[in-house]
């Protein structure tokens, strides 16, 4: 491998090489053989401490897994190491040398490569072009030497035992194939540390085994892998050490063999379960929304449930479990391909959001900015838009004073903090934008509320207000389906909890019998 590397990549390419070479020379002085040392890293975003004083060491030739709940800070830590995000405090040392943080290019040149969960390849270009983009071998006059490009790619892929043609277009590859291209690309930089963010989430068993074989090969050469995963069963198979993060804090590092699955879950979830539900069990009303065998492959399949008037059904699961797609299917955004939906006992075909709104449903989408806010418009217009579909219009004309009055009342009820209703919604804080979007739906008088991550990315105060509002709406008879990735939120707000894993419902728990461990056991693999 070393010979190929020297001949093919560096010398031919005239790559900046000093960083690596010097590190190899200094490696002898590194204490305890740590390749990567993360020391006292802290990072906060407005209103949220994403990481607090986190330290992690990764030994040479090892696979170090990083686990934690959604939002525990894993991805932020990875991004800091890869130079994509700048830390507020702390340092990262690679082979004893302190890295300049916050510069992805420098991190790459120093020997750290990251494979993102969302793959960053150009679909219309070939495998070879993707791997060597910006570093193509050139002939005279700046022409790309395609023969050399393909030869080099061929050698690289052969070394990794990846069976792909250098000239294949990336768009023709499966997800697994693209993942392999990303790995090859990362290794073409001669990286010492490879960061993988849930690399197996889209892979089948066979491809996963191949990936693990590649990882073992790499570690046998002294390279290290930092590996984010949600899958418990992978830990023992591939990881030498496991570090658990929770709420941005370092919880502990252990060898996977020394821990039971239950112990790991407890480390991840951690909190004392004192967050008692702020509400009693609502008197169960009539079944308002029922679903049977809803299927939309590959997102979810055979989902059946009943949602009663006055009930809050929490939907828990890991990212990618199909919860948001289920919410969208119920609302007709991307209708299910098969299955049945009943509203108040009558079967309905919800084929578009317009139908759903007409049926008295409301959907608060997961992504406030992408699918919620009308960013060029003001608070009033954002509040009114859904209700205009049903009320507030006479002969096509909007009843201005009535709309303004209703929006002012709603804004007051939800305590939206805005200088005026004519303020552009883009100027509001995330929490206030979210309140406006909830208000948009409340103005339609919905009987079924589907809330997808209703408090994502908003501050603690607004979060508590929204939780109270949800409970209040249910108490007034609304049926609420709430998707949330935050277990404390699920436990604090829901009457019942439906857990999904890889597109299937794995269990429904009564709030009284549910705790974080039980939910995680149903949600994780």
């Amino acid at each position: 491998m070393g010979a190929i590397r020297a001949r093919d990549t560096r010398d031919a390419l005239d790559l900046p090489r000093p960083a690596l070479t010097r590190m190899h020379l200094e490696a002898a002085h590194v204490p305890a053989g740590y390749l990567l040392e993360v020391r006292h890293i802290s990072k906060s975003y407005p209103g949220v401490a994403a990481l607090e004083d986190v330290s992690v060491q990764v030994g040479k030739g090892t696979v170090h897994a990083l686990i934690g709940e959604n939002g525990a800070g894993k991805s932020t830590l990875m991004k800091i190491i890869a130079g994509i995000v700048t830390a507020d405090a702390g340092e990262v040392r690679l082979a004893g040398r302190t890295l300049t943080l916050g510069d992805p290019r420098r991190a790459l040149e120093s020997g750290i490569a990251m494979i993102h969960q969302e793959l960053n390849l150009m679909p219309s270009m070939t495998v070879a072009e993707n791997i060597w983009i910006g570093r193509e071998p050139l002939k005279a006059l700046g022409m790309i030497d395609h023969r050399e490009l393909h030869r080099r790619t061929h050698l690289l892929l052969e070394r990794l035992q990846i069976d792909l043609a250098p000239e294949a277009e990336v768009r023709s590859l499966s997800i697994a194939g693209r993942q392999m291209v990303e790995i090859a690309k990362a290794l073409s930089y001669e990286s010492q540390l490879l960061i993988m963010d849930e690399p197996t989430s889209a892979l089948g068993e066979h491809d996963t085994a191949h990936l693990f074989a590649i990882i073992r090969e790499l570690t046998s050469q002294g390279k290290a892998v930092l590996y984010i995963t949600h899958r418990m069963d992978e830990l023992e198979e591939i990881a030498d050490e496991v570090t658990v993060l929770r709420d941005g804090r370092y919880i502990g590092t252990e060898r996977p063999g020394n821990l039971t699955r239950e112990q790991i879950i407890r480390m991840m979830v951690g909190r004392e379960l004192t967050q008692a539900s702020p509400h009693g069990r609502a008197a169960p009303g009539a079944v308002r929304l029922a679903a049977r065998a809803l299927t939309l492959r590959p997102h979810f399949h055979d989902v059946s449930f009943e949602l009663h008037a006055g009930e809050i059904l929490g939907v828990a699961g890991l990212i990618g479990a199909g919860r948001s797609k289920l919410a969208e299917a119920l609302f007709g955004v991307t209708p299910a391909s098969s299955g049945h939906i009943w509203i108040d006992g009558a079967e309905v075909r919800v084929d578009s959001p317009g139908t759903a709104v007409a049926c008295g449903m409301a959907l608060l989408t997961e992504d406030r900015k992408e699918t919620g806010c009308l960013l060029t418009l003001d608070v009033l217009e954002n509040l009114a838009i859904a209700a205009l579909n049903r009320d507030f219009v006479r002969f096509g004309f909007v009843r201005g004073p009535a709309v303004t009055q209703a929006c002012a009342d709603m804004s007051r009820r939800l305590r939206v903090k805005t200088p005026s209703l004519r303020e552009p919604i883009a100027y509001l804080s995330g929490g206030n934008q979210q309140k406006v979007l909830i208000g948009r739906w409340l103005l339609t008088g919905p009987r079924i509320l589907i809330l997808d991550e209703p408090t994502r990315g908003i501050d603690v105060g607004a979060k508590a207000e929204i939780h109270q509002l949800i409970a209040q709406l249910a108490a007034q008879g609304a049926a609420v389906l709430m998707v949330s990735s935050e277990l404390p939120e699920i436990l604090a707000v829901s009457h019942r909890i439906m857990v999904m894993q890889e597109g299937a419902v794995t269990g429904v728990l009564e709030r009284a019998h549910a705790d974080q461990e039980k939910i995680m056991a149903l949600a994780a693999h």
């Binding site: 317009g354 699918t371 009033l380 909007v398």
Partner: protein, 339 residues
């Protein structure tokens, strides 16, 4: 959580409407030409009734088109077919408006028809073209640029094919009256008023802005986005048809080469008037001012006897400047886009 949140006032302290800055540009340009006029020609630019009338007359047709195009741009789309639709409408309407004096009428049995026939036919042709644009965009996933580019080319071809390239002339007096005197200006301003009201005070208008601002959010809010786009493009087509009627009435003939590049002038008027090509932003008042700016520039250069070449060069510069200004406005609107 503060408990002392009062009901927000509906209106904050009075802000300048977004059109104010464009109006200043219009006035500034007019005064500039006035000044240059006194400096080089010792005449007034503005104090000349005839010139002002001609100026507004010349841009009325562009203005009528621009009112439709503004609505399309607010939805985040574009309409390149307007100029060709003007030509096609002019041909069809003129062919049904020929008088007994016509030597070789297109339809010898259909001469001296009441004026309502060619007008209705012209509007129907415009509506059909708009409906085609709208269906292509709403029912397939091709971008508006491509759909309307196709219709632009085909409509021009249809206009030429209609009489094998021959102009249609000798029209009835009643038809020619549509283009005479201040009638085109009245049509322009009346259309502007109607759609100003439609955009500001009707559900149609609110949905138009919502779709342009965030099509996904609009759809999730229950708006039937394809149906609405169909309506917007059809309205734009009808207005292009109206512009074609006015053009042929003014020229007292229909010619396949009419309306050449009008689509670009109309887009320019809308963009200069503050409509954002990214969608969700734009007003009819701004478009009217934008149209007048184009008129002042053309008329001012003619007044100063500057070569037509320079006119086009400067017009291009103004369009680009307007789009750059739009970029700055958009960045100011979304603070996160900067950092």
């Amino acid at each position: 959580m503060q408990q002392t949140v009062t009901s927000p006032p509906v209106r904050p302290e009075r802000r300048w409407p977004p059109e104010a800055s464009i109006l200043l540009v219009l006035l500034g340009l007019a005064l500039l030409f006035e000044l240059l006029g006194w400096m080089f020609l010792r005449q007034s630019f503005l104090l000349n009734e005839q010139r002002l009338v001609i100026m507004i007359l010349q841009v009325s047709v562009i203005g009528i088109i621009a009112i439709g195009v503004t609505q399309v741009i607010i939805t985040g789309g574009i309409d390149l077919s307007s100029g060709s639709v003007v030509a096609l409408t002019a041909m069809v309407a003129a062919s049904l408006a020929q008088s007994t004096d016509a030597v070789h009428p297109v339809y010898p049995s259909l001469i001296d028809l009441p004026v309502v026939v060619p007008v209705a036919a012209g509007l129907a042709v415009g509506a059909a073209a708009g409906l085609l644009n709208g269906s292509l965009i709403a029912r397939t996933s091709i971008p508006p640029f491509i759909a309307t580019l196709g219709v632009m080319v085909s409509a021009r071809g249809l206009a030429k094919w209609y009489t094998r390239g021959q102009p249609v002339s000798l029209l009835t007096d009643a038809y020619a009256n549509i283009g005479s005197g201040a009638v085109p200006v009245v049509i322009f301003l009346a259309t502007a008023l109607i759609f100003h009201i439609a955009l500001r005070y009707t559900r149609y208008g609110k949905f138009t802005y919502a779709i342009g601002s965030n099509p996904h959010a609009a759809r999730v809010s229950g708006i039937n986005v394809p149906r609405h786009l169909l309506a917007v493009y059809t309205i734009a087509g009808v207005l292009s048809g109206l512009a074609g009627i006015v053009t042929s009435a003014r020229a007292e003939s229909g010619q396949a080469g009419m309306g050449m590049m009008y689509e670009l002038d109309a887009i320019a008027a809308a963009v200069i008037g503050g409509a954002s090509l990214a969608g969700g932003v734009g007003r009819i008042t701004g478009t009217v001012i934008g149209t007048l700016i184009l008129g002042v520039v053309t008329s001012g250069f003619t007044f100063l006897r500057v070569d037509a070449y320079y006119q086009e060069i400067v017009k291009g510069g103004i369009i680009v400047a307007a789009v750059i200004a739009d970029q700055y406005r958009r960045r100011a609107r979304d603070p996160r886009a900067v950092s």
